[in-house]
Amino acid sequence: MQDIVKVSNLTKRFNQLTAVNDLSFTVKQGDVYGFLGQNGAGKSTSIRMLLTLITPTEGDIELFGLALNRHRKEILQQVGAVIEKPDVYTFLSAYDNLKLFARLSGVRPSHTMLLDRLELVGLANRAKDPVKTFSQGMKQRLGIAIALVHNPGLIILDEPTNGLDPQGIADVRNLILFLSREQHKTVIVSSHLLNEIEQIATRMLIIDKGKKLVEDSAAALLNSADTILQLNTADNEAALDILKGSRWADHLKPMRNGQIVLRLNKEEIPQLNRFLVQMQLDVLLLQPRNNLEDYFLQITAGKQHVDPFTN
């Protein structure tokens, strides 16, 4: 697969603050590339550098095999983006906004093509309405239509589900999957909502404080040997005391939602189960959790305080 994005040693400093620190990653053709990190981790700054909104302090960016600083125009003709909020001209209609940005992207779209794009994001019936009458979700969908209007090969969506209701989040998720699977677009999605990314990403990059923590395929990250195990017994306090006095003590993590949490190798789960039975503990729940949030907690454990991710 061809490298669509190749970032090498990217750094951005704002006076004393290093927002992005020696970041390198590669996005391959056809990827839905999850760009993950907490608020303030450096995701938006990195994405803005990919879009030439911010000039890097150091490092190189190549898109479609071309250096961004030398081939900005050719590259941006192949890129569509929604950055944080989908701000458009509110005094214009959805149709007029789409037409305006299409022309700025170097295409002269037909009426049918514009309506097709609006249809794709479910706004065809509101095409002529002023954007100031739109909900946040509708604006977000219009932003995505604008990103797609010139048929780009790479789509960059920075926090595309911000401010959306659950239905809106699901719509955006389905749209990204459609673009990837049906239209074979390469998509970079940044988000702090890990469970959303988990459902769509084929590869992921997790950054924290501007630095890369890990980059790999979603399957590899989610199927790592270590797993988080949730344990619930009839008497959790007694169970915890027994575990603390056993060889499992080193595997214990802080309790979550009143349940005991352990981090251990998958192959050790049956041994733990046998131990609990031997200790005559009534096991109500023994559930391995391999979601991205748990993985994130694993790799950041001991490095920082991690706030719970919220929906």
Partner: protein, 291 residues
């Protein structure tokens, strides 16, 4: 860039705010015209009071050319505010709406974006002046008729022959356009430093007010900087109405008393425009878009 210019003009003229300036000018000119139509005789008697014993005037002082001169004197002081409303909003307004970042992700160079926006501001400014010319000159000529232009200076009177007036207005409007484009360039430059429109609009007007005060105050310490202030040269349009006289003290038709002053002032204004726009390009090319 032509496409981008079209888009910028489209955006400017789709906003209701744009038409406020045209509406304000229409209202102001109408008020002046109606006032002079109803009570013009008293007005001319008042301004002629100092000369009443010296000579009598044969003809119609209160004609379209005279009305237009009054309008220009009153209006050109206030037009900068109307221009700043649009020019100072061109970048800051986009930053405030959040559309600037979307605009800059399109395959257009930043220099092209600056130039397209500035040209759009220039076209808006020129249209505003054309509108003033239509209402202030043509409508006044239609309503009040035409005759010799009678101008009262501080210590003398200038009478411009009717046949010699119109081209002078054409020159005066062209010069006023250059002065107003300078204001547009200043407002446009200041719009790069803020993420809301109010700041650059207020800043533009503040700069103009301070510079105008410095230009008009007769204090020696300020006299050295006066020639370099664009506000000193903004009123040079009046030079089009000063003509040369022959040995018999008769006006030479088609002459201007001090054409060098007009050329010098025009050059100073052009240098200001180039400096403001060059600074805008430099600032914008290096600007990180964080909004």
């Amino acid at each position: 860039m032509w496409t981008h210019l079209q888009i910028e003009l489209y955006k400017i003229f789709r906003r209701p705010r744009t038409y406020l300036a045209f509406a304000a000018i229409t209202a102001l000119i109408a008020v002046i015209q109606i006032g002079l139509l109803v009570d013009g005789k008293e007005y001319t008697d008042f301004v002629m009071a100092d000369f009443a014993g010296s000579f009598t005037v044969d003809g119609k002082i209160l004609n379209g050319y005279f009305i237009c001169y009054v309008i220009l004197q009153l209006l050109l002081v206030h037009v900068p505010l109307l221009i700043a409303l649009i020019a100072a909003d061109l970048i800051s307004g986009e930053a405030n709406m959040g559309t600037l970042r979307l605009l800059l992700t399109r395959p257009q160079s930043r220099t092209a974006i600056v130039m397209a926006k500035f040209l759009a501001a220039v076209i808006y400014t020129l249209l505003l002046l054309v509108w003033i010319a239509i209402l202030g000159l043509l409508v006044s000529m239609w309503v009040f008729g035409t005759d010799d232009l009678f101008l009262m200076k501080s210590s003398y009177v200038v009478i411009v022959k009717e046949s010699d007036v119109f081209w002078r207005y054409a020159g005066a409007f062209c010069f006023a356009a250059l002065a107003m484009v300078t204001v547009a360039a200043l407002g446009f430059l200041l719009s790069f430093f803020a993420e809301n429109s109010i700041g650059p609009i207020v800043a533009t007007m503040s700069v103009i007010i301070v510079a105008t005060i410095l230009s008009t105050m007769n204090i020696p310490i300020f006299n050295t900087i006066k020639p370099f202030l664009f506000t000193t040269h903004m009123i040079t349009w009046k030079e089009f109405f000063d003509f040369k006289v022959n040995d018999a003290n008769e006006a030479i038709i088609g002459s201007i008393q001090n054409p060098d002053k007009i050329i010098r002032s025009a050059l100073v204004l052009i240098i200001h425009i180039v400096a403001f726009i060059s600074a805008a390009v430099l600032v914008f090319r290096k600007k990180d878009i964080l909004s």
